[in-house]
Symmetry: D2
Subunit: 152 residues, 4 copies
């Protein structure tokens, strides 16, 4: 099984950086997991597909409505915002790119579960997360942390 990295966040202004994150993850062989919808989620998946990677979207609703078109596999949870728990739990590491309150919940859940969290600056400042200045740094931090977890 490939490493899985969850990319969370929102905000149209963060799409370009999210797309780069997705592409860099795919180039390094990691599967990109997201919440499956628009903005940062769509951009990360689009970036991963541009590099021939694999993408999984974990949707909140009861159907695939609202899924972005860059998903290889779609998980339809039917549990609304509680799917945020599944998004971060499914990652060996989590990268947050922008985002508002839903992202804050995801960071809280990821840290509760012991998943490494990298915040691509600017972004939520939460003790216990690692901060990255560039998409490349975010991806390298996340993969290093994920491999460290996998080894232990």
């Amino acid at each position: 099984m490939a490493l899985q990295v969850s990319v969370v966040g929102s905000g149209a202004e963060n799409e370009q950086r999210a797309e780069t994150v997705g592409r860099l993850l795919a180039e390094r062989g990691a599967t990109v997991v997201t919440g499956g919808r628009g903005e940062v989620m769509a951009a990360a998946a689009r970036g991963a597909k541009s590099a021939g990677g694999t993408t999984i979207g974990i949707l909140p609703g009861e159907t695939r409505d609202g899924a972005n078109p860059w998903l290889d596999h779609v998980v339809v949870t039917g549990i609304g915002h509680a799917r945020n728990l599944a998004v971060v739990a499914s990652g060996d590491a989590v990268i947050a790119v922008g985002g508002r309150y839903g992202t804050l919940a995801e960071i809280g859940f990821a840290l509760t579960l012991g998943r490494p969290v990298v915040v691509l600056e600017p972004g939520w400042e939460v003790e216990g997360t690692q901060r990255a200045r560039t998409p490349l740094e975010a991806v390298e931090f996340a993969l290093a942390a994920a491999r460290h977890i996998s080894d232990t």
Copy 2:
């Protein structure tokens, strides 16, 4: 139906303040909703019962194991940390007393759903929350915000 206020948080050092919050809420006729377990959750429920109030605990597991003894009604969700969503969604307002990452997820969810959030200082600093210096201030802010929401 009485107003319902969710009290979230953790940390043994916050129990006394949480108990005061619970008592003050009950004295003002609000039902106290918590995650149903120990520390802040137990203290808030204990405080509410000391004033003859009503308490609801929303548990993460599949049984009542771990429930504190100050609950009038217990909801057993079976959904683990995702029950944090139900805890805050069930409040007309939310008061956070201390707490770590689970509380951060609850604050994120509460703000996502538009529930007013009062943070009793010291505590997580999150834009969009109201800060209170004392339990009394926290309770008054929460009830004012809850009534404002109910009126609109």
Copy 3:
């Protein structure tokens, strides 16, 4: 804490029997737990309130929209149909009055979790459930099973 009995089901044709079930449960001191919405859920809560009982509704959405007016306490889960798990997990026993596929999921979950299930005839025929011919029989079977569980 009072015994909690979950009443599940649907169908306008089952409302009268559900109301009797709710009333009989309340007369015997049990709290009535339901999914909080219409038809059987509303009727069971209405019956409980007619006897001065206590009612809890566990709603699927992110707000109280759709809650029936006979609820003392409302839990807003935000997890859609997955709240069916919480409805049955919160009961010391479960009584099914009519119902279609959502009720079948609830019976499946209740039996998975070891909750006693009484089906008021006619209704889903599932091995492992107890069948009752009248509301009174359903209530007596449910309370006996709930007390048996509580004692062990």
Copy 4:
């Protein structure tokens, strides 16, 4: 995106038939979605991998513990039995192979959400499901129903 078919059920005595179901689905290009654990879930994934197919496991816990080794992608939900909703919601169709109460909940949820359900005999008898006598028949029924849904 490939069609996704969820295979649910349990019971060691059903593993051989589940493995055939998984293999036949993969041979026809469908992705196999399961609850990610043992018995029928493991057998279906193993069958799919034997034919070079793609498999997704949707786990109940907060880690990958208990995942079978035939999964390409693992979704860790953290929501316990409520993940059954996600398992069936993620399928364009659902095939039930044996199974006990958890499977009954899955059938109930699938029918609630309008997903076509094929029961490989013997198995739960539920109105609204289609019955198949052989794994081949189950797969053909499921794919025909899934394509019919996708076309509408």
